[in-house]
């Protein structure tokens, strides 16, 4: 499948200090990577780095056949104001802004991309609903649809299963697996969910201990059990 992105000796942090130090990993096209680690280990910082919201303090992130602004990002649901006045359509369409350039209005192609994203997550019927009227699980899907509208290659998700009841969580994981297997989307997902059967990816990046662990999910489960 080939490399999609790689981190080389990546150090990320803030003026107050480094959060992630000398991190190396390679994500191949078609991977589903779960990023695990306790609070403060740098999971969200890593995401900011991948999205270009913060610059590496050392080392680099190299993208292969991928432009940073075409990464589809889904923030934690709680980071978005649930009472914000916006229709589902307005939100999902905004995911396609990376195709706008200087054009002021959405093109037919962008509208098409947004409606495909809604269809893929089976929420086309919510299109004209308002964000504030939706349940937490529905809001999550809308944010995932927006991320999907932004990309055809890589989804980056920040704790997507937070605040979801177990059935919405199953639903979400089902959707992610489908996107990964049927549409061939690469997914990098930060998760709090340490239940092994919920480590749905083929690879794990663990920021728990240094040196960082990066390898297959089976390998990770074995190592954790050995300790």
């Amino acid at each position: 499948m080939g490399k999609l992105l790689e981190a080389k000796d990546l150090t990320l942090g803030y003026p107050s200090g480094d959060v992630i130090k000398d991190l190396n990993f390679v994500v191949d096209s078609g991977d589903l990577v779960c990023v695990v680690g306790p609070n403060g280990a740098g999971k969200s910082t890593l995401i900011k780095g991948l999205l270009g919201l913060i610059k590496p303090r050392h080392g680099e992130i190299v993208y292969h056949n991928l432009v940073q602004k075409f990464i589809g990002y889904m923030p934690q649901e709680t980071k978005v104001d649930a009472n914000f006045p916006a229709s589902v359509e307005e939100i999902v369409l905004s995911g396609t802004l990376n195709k706008s350039g200087w054009r002021p209005f959405y093109s037919d192609e962008q509208r098409q991309k947004a409606s495909e994203a809604l269809k893929a997550l089976r929420i086309s019927s919510l299109k004209d609903r308002h964000f504030s009227d939706l349940s937490g699980g529905q809001r999550q899907r809308v944010l995932l649809a927006r991320a999907l509208a932004a990309t055809s290659k890589l989804l980056v998700l920040d704790e997507p299963s937070n605040n979801l009841d177990s059935s919405s969580r199953r639903d979400l994981y089902g959707n992610l697996k489908k996107l990964n297997q049927e549409k061939g989307l690469t997914i990098i997902m930060v998760t709090h969910d340490l239940d092994h059967k919920n480590l749905i990816g083929n690879k794990i990046l663990s920021l728990r201990t240094k040196p960082y662990f990066y390898g297959s999910t089976e390998q990770y489960v074995q190592e954790v059990h050995r300790v």
Binding site: K48, L51, G52, L53, Q68, K69, F70, I71, Y73, P75, K79, V80, D81, F84, P85, A86, S87, E90, I91, L93, S94, G95, L97, N98, S100, P104, F105, Y106, H130, F131, S132, D133, R146, A150
Partner: protein, 271 residues
Amino acid sequence: MFSGMLSYQFMVNALISGLLISICAALIGAPLVLKRNSMIGDGLSHVAFGAFAIATVLNVAPVEFALPIVIIASFLILRLGENSKIHGDAAVALLSSSALAIGTFVISVTPGVNTDINSYLFGSILSIDHADVIMSVVLAIIVVALYILAYNKIFAITFDENFAKSIGVRTGWFNTIFAVLCSIVIVLGMRLVGSLLISSLIIFPTLIAERFSRSFRGVTIIAVVVSVLNFVVGLTLSYVLSAPTGATIVIVNLVALVSAVLTDRLIRHRD
């Protein structure tokens, strides 16, 4: 009544300038209020008062003097917002009261200055001249054009700035433009309703519009309509009642908000 009101040139100036500023204030206010940054408008208006006071003491043109100072202050406040180490709201509050204190102080201790501080604090429609009208026209053209051309990006930034940045929207650039435009709205609007009241022109319309629509497009359009209506009603009422213009406009807005909230409650209760 209108013809009587409009037989005065200063009323015509106030009407034109006020209508345009109302439109701009509503448009600039929507993202500020929805991003929970309303305090910025309030902080800047106090800085504008301080700058007007200093301009008076130095005997220079107040608008031209105040504008760059308020713009610089708006950049500072934006920076504070980005730096999570400092409490943004506390810093804005400090800036507000300090600017107010400095303004009052310099005017009071400078001999020979007999400007009525009240007209800076509460506005004076008599002070709106031809130059203000022209500046309002230019400002309105810029703000409306920006909204039409960049509406989708403004939505994306207001709803979720990190996401917008991640897909390549130049959020820093937009934040800067908004800070500058917000400063101009405040400096111009302050002549009309005064520095203590101008932030309400920015905040009320969006709060009222949120009761009537739950989409961003709806809130934006309704906010503009509400802002213009409330201004016209307020200006007319103040003329009829010989009441201070700024205070009357704010009270009209307050009444509109309270009615909107009550209507909203009533409708939801019935459902």
